[in-house]
């Protein structure tokens, strides 16, 4: 454990796993979809579902999905702010199966595009994004992350990687729809990329999201 982690981080209380971790998962989703969604459903599992209001998990999730940073004192007012954005939000309690006790599945809709992200708060404010649109992954968000829906065809990945000039730390690729010839590629990078538009314009790329890590 490094010094900054022992002496910090700056956050709002009361719990690094139930508040900070929850906020980070939702904020990851906010960054992925590029703004506040029109509608969101939070499905809470395990310990999240048992104690969520007492730990402010609900407000932390709402704060994250509207893009508040982890040290913003307005997090406690997330309900009001979300309503002011016109955000429709729902909380559901469900058993998500054999997953970490602090897990949430977030379903979002923005401009009629749907996404579904699942993540766990694994302690000390650290998170693990475990599913993006039904593709399993293990993202810590300690890296700048690219999420790409691309053509499920030969050389598609090659053309994407050819445009990436920075070092790749981790890479996931899964076929998501054989009929539509779609695959999902997740790339964790050591440094931010500058040429996102170039990747978006590739013929093999349908959708591309760049999620910068919080510093």
């Amino acid at each position: 454990m490094n010094l900054l982690k022992v002496l910090g981080p700056v956050m709002v209380g009361p719990s690094s796993s139930h508040t900070l971790g929850a906020l980070k998962i939702a904020r990851f989703v906010y960054k992925l979809i590029g703004g506040v969604p029109d509608e969101v459903t939070f499905i809470l599992h395990g310990s999240f579902s048992k104690t969520y209001k007492g730990h402010g998990t609900d407000r932390a999730l709402l704060a994250g999905i509207i893009g508040l940073r982890q040290d913003n004192p307005e997090i406690k007012n997330a309900y009001e702010i979300a309503k002011n954005f016109g955000l429709k939000f729902h909380f559901k309690l469900e058993d998500l199966g054999d997953v970490h006790p602090n897990t949430v599945k977030i379903k979002v809709k923005r401009d009629n595009v749907f996404h579904e992200i699942e993540g766990s708060s694994i302690g000390g404010g650290d998170i693990k994004i475990t599913f993006i649109d039904s593709v399993p992954c293990e993202l810590s968000w300690d890296y700048d992350t690219l999420v790409i829906v691309n053509k499920d065809a030969p050389s598609a990945l090659k053309s994407i990687l050819a445009t990436i000039k920075v070092n790749v730390a981790n890479l996931y690729l899964r076929r998501i729809n054989l009929l539509q010839e779609k695959a999902l590629t997740i790339i964790e990078l050591d440094e931010p990329i500058e040429n996102i538009e170039e990747i978006k314009s590739l013929p093999s790329v349908f959708e591309c999201y760049f999620i910068r890590r919080d510093n």
Partner: protein, 286 residues
């Protein structure tokens, strides 16, 4: 991973706070100057929040706490010194702010986030020191916390409250001893004395929420940091070296039954009053 013994050996040619920053550079590659800058931002936030929240009432998430800092601030102390009194009011204030979703620095954790503000705000008010000198002590607190985190744990869920509030108080005692003496040996003694005094302390939050007994433990145990520092400064030594005390704390933590490690099922969480409280709260909390 460095033990305290390793760190102390390196203090022959450099002050302790510089040794800690240099070791961090070897491990993570972070420039000590940049790191010092980031840590200074964190310490400023700690002092800012201590000032803003001091003695305030808070509306906490469950309502089980929230007026302790306010009450103590209204009370004229009969036994506490000015220093201890300020430290105690601050520790309660920040712990209650944490429970009401206020901004805190999780130093070393959210649940134990009152102790370090208590110590540092009291130093600031009573000694009015140069900020850089205060920052040196903050770095030393971090060095002690890091040794505990790496050799054992600072998580209540893993090692009980001894690991969480015990670490916070050990860090606080380290900071106080360093501020007065600049002596790494006194720092180690003060930290060891704290951990020995809370050896085996269980993590038993009522309902699993960071309120009861967490808030008042912050208020009480900041005084353990102060008394341990005072003992160490007088020349009293811990017979058992700090590293060995940390190892012992780890062993005790890992043998604590699960229900005494942040599950909200054992200790004071398992009393009739606590169970009743939670039954009533459940209606509002889910």
């Amino acid at each position: 991973m460095y033990t305290w013994k390793d760190i102390q050996k390196m203090c022959k040619s450099l002050p302790l706070h510089e040794v800690i920053l240099n070791l961090e550079m070897f491990e993570t590659g972070v420039d000590p100057k940049k790191l010092r800058g980031k840590l200074s931002d964190m310490l400023r936030i700690i002092l800012e929040e201590a000032k803003d929240q001091y003695g305030k009432k808070h509306k906490t998430l469950t309502g089980m706490t929230g007026e302790n800092a306010y009450k103590l601030n209204k009370h004229v102390p009969k036994f506490l010194s000015e220093f201890s009194y300020i430290a105690t009011v601050t520790a309660l204030s920040i712990a209650e702010s944490n429970a009401s979703m206020g901004r805190i620095v999780a130093c070393p954790t959210a649940g134990a986030s009152g102790i370090i503000p208590g110590v540092f705000y009291a130093i600031e008010k009573v000694y009015k020191p140069d900020f850089e000198k205060l920052l040196d002590s903050f770095i030393v607190a971090g060095g002690v916390g890091k040794v505990i985190a790496n050799k054992a744990t600072i998580s209540g869920a893993a090692g009980g409250c001894q690991a969480e509030i015990g670490t916070a108080a050990a860090m606080g005692a380290a900071a106080l001893s360093y501020f007065i003496s600049n002596d790494p040996e006194k720092v180690a003694n003060a930290s060891a004395l704290v951990l020995k005094s809370v050896m085996g302390l269980v993590c038993d939050p009522v309902g699993g929420f960071v309120e009861v007994p967490c808030v008042k433990r912050n208020g009480n145990l900041v005084n353990l940091a102060i008394s341990s520092a005072e003992l160490a400064l007088s020349g009293i030594k811990s017979i058992i070296p700090f590293d060995e005390v940390v190892d012992a704390m780890k062993r005790v933590g890992s043998t604590l039954p699960q229900n005494l490690r942040e599950t909200g099922e054992g200790g004071i969480a398992n009393t009739p009053t606590a169970k009743n409280l939670i039954l009533n709260l459940r209606k509002f909390l889910i």
